[in-house]
């Protein structure tokens, strides 16, 4: 009889005293842990799963499923949704690169809009030639140029972190469009460069005719092109994330000192992360130029970089699925809130500003209440639920 009394009397005291420091500690540690929750290490083998053990095979399988899914999605939706999905692909490609940089390697970049501009202008320049070379090569050229610029920025950025890096890349985002204006006879100044979207090849016509019988329009061709680029990018990034390189990036992010002691050259790995991420941004810029048919400074403002940041923060830093979901928000939210604004009596220009307003509010709210983002939060809930179930099961087994 005295024992239960004893415990009931003693338990509230430590709980009460612990509340202060532990709640303070929670704000300090939870975000870091939560951010990591969005990109956990690969699950240990031996769990029950129907997927192949090899990462490469598993990813190839997922790639195949996604390709078929994307094709069905593109064929059952109307042309307007097709063009929206085409926009989704370039946002998602850039956000995928950014989430690897920020989520896995802990470097923030506000310069990805500028890197996209590099890719877009390269593609526009190559396409403006009288006899343009093959489209894949042009997109590749966009990737290479953005990679080179990204490597230059990355070398400078590798020594910076947090606010310094944010400030430096912000300066890049604000400064780079000036180059397009300064060399206006090459880049077209404020008006920018019109992009002649290349015609879809014959193969595409017969392919669409064979699959669904829909008409193979230019819009559809661009949506397919973007989807192919997106799938390739995410396939490569997903493999990279699960590889030795991805693990090293995580080590650099989480424990600088330990990583350095383990023989990891911090600077070189940071530059590599920036280069990979810049390559994705370059490809995204190239696809953007084709879809929008214009490469102009006004298309690559700081708001573009901040929208990408919103996408990856909301989806969950470091998660490719999160980046894709966040990008979907960037495409499908603006028409929705603009309509909502019009219903509330705002005029067009005012209603157009509602989307960036929502991005900003989402960034603030997500960082304060759910820094793990959507994917990370769901995954944490699921893991907690499973752990509880397991403890309950083991308790039932041992307790009888």
């Amino acid at each position: 009889m005295s024992e239960p009394q004893n415990t009931s009397a003693s338990t509230p005291a430590p709980a009460g005293t612990a509340a202060g420091p532990s709640s303070g500690k929670a704000t300090e540690e939870a975000p870091a842990r939560a951010t990591a929750a969005a990109n956990p290490p690969p699950a240990a083998g031996g769990g029950r799963t129907f997927l192949p053990q090899s990462t490469l095979l598993r990813h190839l399988l997922v790639l195949l499923v996604c390709a078929v899914g994307a094709m069905i999605l593109l064929e059952i939706t109307d042309p307007f949704t097709n063009s929206q999905l085409a926009s989704l692909t370039y946002y998602a490609i850039a956000a995928g690169g950014l989430t690897v940089l920020t989520g896995l390697n802990g470097q923030i970049s506000l310069g990805h809009g500028a890197l996209m501009a590099v890719g877009a202008y390269t593609v526009a320049l190559f396409l403006s030639a009288d006899e343009p070379i093959a489209l894949p090569l042009i997109l590749l050229a966009g990737v290479v140029t953005a990679t080179i610029v990204g490597a230059l920025v990355g070398v400078a950025a590798a020594r910076l972190h947090g606010p310094y890096l944010a400030g430096a890349t912000l300066a890049l985002a604000v400064g780079l469009p000036g180059i397009a204006i300064y060399f206006h006879d090459i880049f077209g100044g404020e008006q920018g460069m019109r992009v002649r979207a290349p015609r879809p090849p014959e193969v595409f016509d017969s392919f669409i005719g064979f699959v669904s019988g829909n008409s193979a329009t230019g819009t559809k061709w661009l949506a397919y092109l973007g989807t192919i680029c997106l799938l390739i990018t995410y396939f490569l990034l997903a493999n990279l994330v699960r590889s030795r390189i991805g693990r090293t990036w995580r080590a650099v992010r989480d424990q600088e000192v330990a990583a350095e002691l383990a023989g990891i050259n911090l600077g070189a790995w940071r530059v590599l992360a920036f280069v990979v991420s810049a390559a994705a941004a370059g490809l995204a810029g190239g696809v953007l130029a084709l879809v929008v048919r214009l490469a102009a400074p006004s298309g690559f403002t700081i708001v573009l970089s901040l929208s990408l940041l919103t996408a990856i923060v909301l989806g969950g830093l470091g998660s490719l699925l999160g980046a894709l979901l966040g990008s979907a928000l960037l495409v499908f939210l603006p028409p929705f809130v603009t309509d909502l604004g019009a219903d509330f009596g705002l005029n067009n220009t005012e209603a157009a500003q509602l989307a960036p307003f929502v991005y900003g509010v989402v960034l603030v709210v997500a960082m304060i209440f759910a820094p793990a983002g959507f994917v990370g939060t769901v995954r944490m809930r699921w893991l907690t639920y499973r752990a509880k179930q397991r403890t309950a099961a083991s308790r039932a087994a041992s307790g009888g």
Binding site: T35, G162, P163, A166, G167, L170, F357, G360, V364
Partner: protein, 294 residues
Amino acid sequence: MQQFLNVTLTGLTQGMIYAAFALALVLIWRSTRIVNFAQGSMAAATAFIALALIQAGWSYWVALVVALASGFLLGAVIERVIIRPVEGGPELNAVIVTLGLFVAIQALIAIVFGSSFQSFPTPFGVRGFTVGDTTIPVTPTSLYVIGSVLITMGLLVALFRFTRVGLAMRASAFGQEVARLLGVKVGRMLTLGWGLAAVVGSLSGLLIAGGGFVFPAYMDSLIVFGFVAAVLGGLDSPIGAVVGGLILGLALNYVSGYVPRGSALVNITALAILIVVLLVRPGGLFSSATARRA
């Protein structure tokens, strides 16, 4: 020679504005270790409040006082409500929160005040004084800009040096735990610090707008210039921020004054200066210690 004098004086005037903005960033950095990327949008918001008052028929000076007061209120409320939860957490989270504020406030300005270009008045003329036959490039407006920034800086120095509140603010910036043990209400000091910084930022926003045009994104380059100036001075030193602002003002004006069509290159010059400083002297121009801060 005439052009050189012209460019230099314009550079110094603009440098004073950059210095004020950099000072606002440094004040917040010292107390909370956060670079407030929303500073520009906050300043722009107060400038639009002032403009609305002026358009409603009030005098410039009333509008100025109201704008500065609303800047103080805005800064204090933002610190208390939005920044407090992420203070002391991972540095990336605080950066992202201020960036979110940056874009949200800018969009809100466009929704409330419209996104068109509007001219912003200045209380003094923009014609240079004449001495004999020659017009010297010192205008009443530039004197007003330099004077008001100098007065603000003097008041800040007096506050930090000679008052109890200033001492408490310095203490809580120096060591939060120790200050708290000694009975300083650290939270209140941080709120006050953000409010004061927002006032200085708001002043620089009003000064750069004077005689020109304002639109929701007009402070975008000033954030970059202020940040570069602050980093030039080491991000930790108010004096450094002022010197950094003046150096940057001069450098940017020489580029736009002497390079053909150089005004397009101003922003990229600021980037180049920033990169060089961060690579060569990450602790700022005046750092004596070799400790790597960046």
